[in-house]
Symmetry: C2
Subunit: 427 residues, 2 copies
């Protein structure tokens, strides 16, 4: 075994295959994410990683099997050293299998489904650089423990296509069903059927906590139905999960300009939204500015006041940084870029500085997540703010000034059809 | 375009990749099926296809992703001309995708799930040489129409692994839900949970027809529970689906040597079993004899009175015959073995002589199926026989001498919890 000195310069050519959809309706489209990857390459090109040369090939994953086909079409000597993406679950599943079989590390800011948590045998080479659905679900587990809730009803919109809400709720179900026996669920498909919000809400009577993942309009219908049935008056706690698309929740999300706006505003004063906690640091500003420039060049509308950077852009940026750190480590012990499993394991159980702050990977290569609970704090104006945050790395809560304990306290027991012993002692 | 004369000899080397599990617990293991494939090659080596030389490579699919890995490891110039198998659904899904992408025909006596019926875009090159679950489900559709039933309750054992019963019932659900509105279902997992047969049977009250796919012991528990609740006395019709493993149903399937045997025998006198209709012709005898010889050489126990040949052995035998016919056709119009899609389409919408009788493929490349309904005809002895058969090619029934109309006639309406308008006019 050759053992080069640890001080030898880190030089190498790294072939990177990036698998993202070219369809711009995705938050993780090629047009949005590639500037972040190029930004990371530029950052790496000066300083300690200057000897690394990244040859990036962008493939259109089409959020489907095209990603797999692009990979398997590579002859042995053409195979990449690193795969970034895919984000879509089904697309990622097949790519990660083949890449793992070929000993190629994969880093994705997607592939968030619970199935990828089980790294052996098929998903051995995937590192997930964005907080997964299971990590998000820990927020609920922690709240259930803190506030003494025992039963949940899960409502989700399953489009039978990309199934984001299905996989989101799968994470919640996986965590909660381990600790709380009664976990009911209701499935709807807003693309195929008319959603009967009243019928769905009728099915949650027996559960203390109602957790929804659905389109904004569906959530509004469900909250209106719950409010009319007076389920918002202390017998139930309502949550909406909205991880990525910050524009679809928060201030004014109840507003449609229809005759139900006032009623919806009142209903939404009982709704909690779980979302990603996004933090920034001074260096982030330059990144954000550059990203806005690039997005504008791609004719992607950029909002003025808000950040144009999403979790996927951050994640794929940080993916390259993490890879460079891990590659340096394995090369320092005499291995090469072809030792895919060792590089992968070197990325796991590691904390490093990402573009927006510290990034912490757990021992199985999944990023620990921080999440916020957002709530309407001004029922008159109908405006929202973060009332508490959950930090996955140490499992702690941060309670914000606007927080009120009563919002998370059951005042009465849920009613039949499944009557339960009432014990609101957690109040 | 070169147009060779139609009388030119058909000569070619065909690389065949066979994907079967080496684990002998499968009815379609390498040890069972490879003799049938070799038998077909021997048959083809004399006569009109004598110019074809088949180079067969057997890969262990392991009923999992190993099949995919074996395929994608092939460099461009090593890729096979034909893939036979895999049988297991998840294994087949990824192989068929990549083979289709590479323009390689796939023929399987498995891949029976409904998903493979939709040939575009991902499964364009799969030909299914054994009757699929959807074809089996047509038997139910035809019976519902003939006997005037309207509602069904589907009970299945989902092992979350190969999921044969899940996919079986999926076919029934797909067909029935298109024609009959009320289709309930109950899932159990006999590998993980204790099966509460009484609780499951309590949920079928509102349905006229109960259709089960489960292990023999579970079916017995369910029938005992139904019999004790008197659901066998004319308010419900009971079906069990048992396609492949002929030893697990029929005479004596109710017998366990426990104290419930007599009760079970009485309960089973109300149970109908849907199974594959197997037919043979004189030429089949030699095949069967040869197969028994090969199985004995592999130390596979061979029953004396029954046939050692199963649907998978027949199917993979016939697959090679069908491929040879299709290859001849495309070569006669100047194409080659590399025109995978044309060869595939040439196999579709075709009827030919298989080893056990006529094989008829529909226009989408799925084999039409014939199925039998087996019923206990001697309640004293507890013995069974086929009481009717369904022929998929023309959608007709054949009623056997032992058939009794009353077995398939609802005498009373199903009871609450979901009361329904009673209209047993079909009697």
């Amino acid at each position: 075994l050759m053992m080069p000195g640890r001080t030898s310069a880190l030089t190498d050519n790294i072939d990177v295959m990036v698998m993202l959809p070219h369809n711009n309706t995705y938050l993780f489209s090629y047009q949005r994410v590639s500037p972040a990857i190029e930004y990371a390459i530029k950052t790496l090109s000066s300083g300690e990683f200057a000897g690394l040369r990244f040859n990036v090939q962008y493939e259109n994953s089409a959020c489907g099997m095209d990603a797999l086909y692009a990979l398997v079409d590579k002859q042995k000597d053409e195979r990449p050293d690193l795969v970034l993406g895919p984000v879509c679950e089904y697309s990622a599943a097949s790519v990660v299998r083949v890449a793992s079989h070929w000993n190629i590390p994969v880093i994705s800011a997607g592939a968030l489904a619970t199935g990828f948590s089980f790294k052996t045998p098929e998903y051995s080479h995937i590192t997930r650089i964005a907080p997964t659905y299971l990590k998000m679900a820990e927020t609920f587990q922690a709240m259930f423990g803190r506030f003494g809730w025992r039963t949940a009803s899960l409502i989700y919109d399953d489009d039978k296509d990309e199934r984001n809400c299905y996989f989101t709720i799968e994470g919640v179900y996986t965590v909660l069903s381990e600790y709380y026996k009664t976990t009911d669920y209701a499935v709807l498909n807003s693309q195929e059927d008319r959603v009967d919000a009243d019928e769905i809400i009728a099915s949650v009577y027996g559960s203390e906590v109602v957790i929804m993942c659905a389109k904004a309009d569906t959530v509004r219908d469900l909250m209106l139905a719950a409010h009319r049935r007076k389920l918002t008056s202390g017998s139930h706690i309502f949550f909406n999960i909205e991880l990525f698309n910050s524009s679809s929740y928060g201030d004014g999300s109840w507003r449609r300009g229809d005759k139900y706006d006032n009623e919806a505003k009142a209903a939404y004063s009982f709704l909690n939204t779980v979302t990603l906690l996004r933090s920034t640091k001074p260096e982030f500003e330059n990144f954000s500015t550059e990203m806005k420039k690039s997005l504008k060049q791609s004719n992607i509308p950029v909002c003025e006041r808000c950040s144009a950077v999403n979790m996927f852009m951050e994640g794929f940026h940080d993916a390259l940084i993490l890879y460079a750190i891990a590659l340096r480590e394995v090369k320092s012990i005499g291995l090469t870029k072809k030792n895919g499993l060792q590089i992968t394991h070197s990325m796991w159980n590691r904390t490093f500085e990402g573009i927006a702050g510290q990034v912490s990977l757990d021992a199985k290569g999944d990023r620990n997540g921080d999440f916020s609970v957002v709530r309407m704090t001004d029922p008159e104006a109908g405006t929202h703010e973060t009332v508490m945050s959950y930090f996955g790395t140490n499992g702690s809560f941060q309670i914000m000034p606007g927080f009120k304990r009563e919002w998370f306290t059951l005042r009465t027991s849920p009613e039949p059809p499944h009557p339960k012993h009432s014990d609101p002692s957690s109040g």
